[in-house]
């Protein structure tokens, strides 16, 4: 029952982090700039973790994640702004519609592999963006006005649910099936795993959380425009996952935090911002080509949570030394 203890540890830590930040915000010690940055970090973590499920766990190289972000953003904005319903409902609806979009996109594209899949998902994301660009109901190219509704509480609750669900999924027979597809699709098939089914499931689940992130994203700004969801946004999310280490959830979280902070601080130097940001990426990739965490999880270092991605590292070490 080690895993259960790990969960309680995670829960207490989350409540603790949430409590401190919420206290600082309500006591007025964190100004709007910092609390917005924290919310933005939270949204980016949700995006990174949801794409981690598709790329890191299932090994399907999708670069159209911004499309599902857009679906979630627009659907939730329609629900709060046009239908005057509460944000919590909007977030769930955004997630569900994004998941449906993921299902519709996933069923045909996930038959493709590697580069072809990447191009197809990129194409679908652009299609989604252009659909929104041409719907006058949501403002077309001019965008849509959205009230600022996203709070730290909303963001943190969504973040907590995302990480818990994706961790639970990964550490089960279903997650193991997804990892086996990443490791060797032919062998997974030969072991009785319905590979298409699991690829579509992972893709849909990833899209669902991208949709929720979209809802938070839309209500964190005052306006959403189709140009916010171009393929550069997809690449931003992809970079979180790759930089963190393919197959490592904690790696995606750490790199999402790290890169969001870097790019936020660099906003003070607009001329050199993109140069420094790119340099950071190049340097990390030169010195850690496997990503910040490789395939390991942060919990491996504490000996808790033997993840489904391959045992604990201590046993591996003692074995290589003895042989």
């Amino acid at each position: 029952m080690k895993k259960v203890r790990g969960f309680w540890f995670f829960l207490i830590l989350s409540v603790f982090v949430y409590g401190i930040v919420q206290f600082l915000i309500s006591a007025g010690m964190l100004d709007i700039y910092y609390s917005n940055t924290l919310i933005f970090i939270g949204i980016n973590i949700i995006l990174a973790v949801s794409l981690h499920l598709v790329i890191g766990i299932t090994g399907q190289f999708s670069i159209g994640h911004a499309g599902f972000l857009a679906v979630g953003a627009y659907i939730s904005a329609i629900i709060t702004m046009k239908l005057q319903l509460p944000l919590s409902l909007a977030l769930v609806a955004g997630g569900i519609v994004a998941a449906l979009a993921g299902l519709i996109v996933g069923i045909p594209t996930l038959r493709l592999k590697g580069d072809y899949l990447a191009i197809a998902t990129l194409g679908f994301a652009e299609i989604i963006r252009i659909i929104f660009l041409n719907i006058d109901y949501v403002g077309g190219a001019a965008g849509m006005q959205v009230t600022h509704l996203t709070t730290w509480t909303y963001t943190f609750v969504c973040l907590f649910i995302t990480i818990t669900v994706i961790t639970n999924f990964t550490n089960s027979r279903h997650g193991r099936a997804c990892v086996s597809i990443r490791e060797n699709e032919i062998a997974a098939d030969a072991m009785g795993i319905n590979t298409t089914y699991y690829k579509v499931i992972a893709f849909t689940l990833g899209s669902f959380f991208a949709g929720i992130a979209g809802g938070l994203y839309a209500h964190n700004f005052y306006i959403i425009q189709p140009s916010n969801f171009g393929f550069l946004k997809s690449f931003d999310i992809l970079i979180f996952v790759v930089l963190g280490g393919l197959g490592s959830l904690s790696g995606s979280v750490i790199s999402a935090i790290f890169l969001t902070i870097v790019s936020t601080f660099l906003q003070n130097y607009p001329e050199t911002r993109m140069i420094i940001y790119s340099l950071v990426l190049v340097i990390v990739m030169l010195y850690r080509p496997q990503g910040l965490m490789g395939t390991r999880e942060i919990t491996d270092f504490f000996g808790k949570w033997k993840g489904s991605k391959g045992g604990n590292s201590d046993a591996a070490k003692s074995f290589t030394e003895s042989s």
Binding site: N184, A187, D189, T195, S323
Partner: protein, 264 residues
Amino acid sequence: MQQSPLLKVHNVGINFGGLKAVSDFNMEIHQGELIGLIGPNGAGKTTCFNLLTGVYIPTEGDILLEGIRLNGLAPYQVTQRGISRTFQNIRLFNELSVLDNVKVAYHSLAKHSILSSIFRLPTHFSGEKEMEEKSIEFLKIFQLDTFLYEKAKNLPYGMQRRLEIARALAAGPKLLLLDEPAAGMNPQETQELMELIAFIREKFNLTILLIEHDMKLVMGICERIYVLDHGQLIAKGSPNEIRNHPKVIEAYLGEEVVESHVEG
């Protein structure tokens, strides 16, 4: 031998474009038999395996497992109906632990749903626990339980082969297909492999079909042998019959040698 065969392959063939890779392939395997499939390089042996396991769909003929037609089923469905296999070049889940490799094969035997895993319902815990216990028990049989949490890629070659066989067996097959299990093994390891195959056959009441180039192994343990050449079945019979079959000698050694080398 009077009962109906476990596997019946009837006039199966496959074309890749204009190329007939395998044609008119017939085979009958009865419960409990150990059958060898041999042939020179490029004869179509692995293609036959791929036809049997659903990787390729035959362009003609029928494949029947216990009387049920397998043509057109996806590989995972074929596995669920009771045929599992190993690969010529080892295909383990390298980054997964030895234990998890076997757990993947147990996948279809556990029944807890995705939702029960996400919400961590009791069925998830009981299902996972059962999988874990069964997998460990299984690895004990194969003497791999000392490396439970080792990544599969870190195992020595012989053990990787053994793990692959263990994983194929964990999927609960009635018929096990081994594609060159002794490839790359030294004589000592081959000997151990022969003992292992005899052991699992006994223990799991298994029917085995194997492709092999090591004639010592094939002649040593197989009860009947099928010989393929250029996608055609050229001979079948007991090891002794095969050893002296002129067509087999011709396929392996060439025509001219036949005259001087027909030996008993």
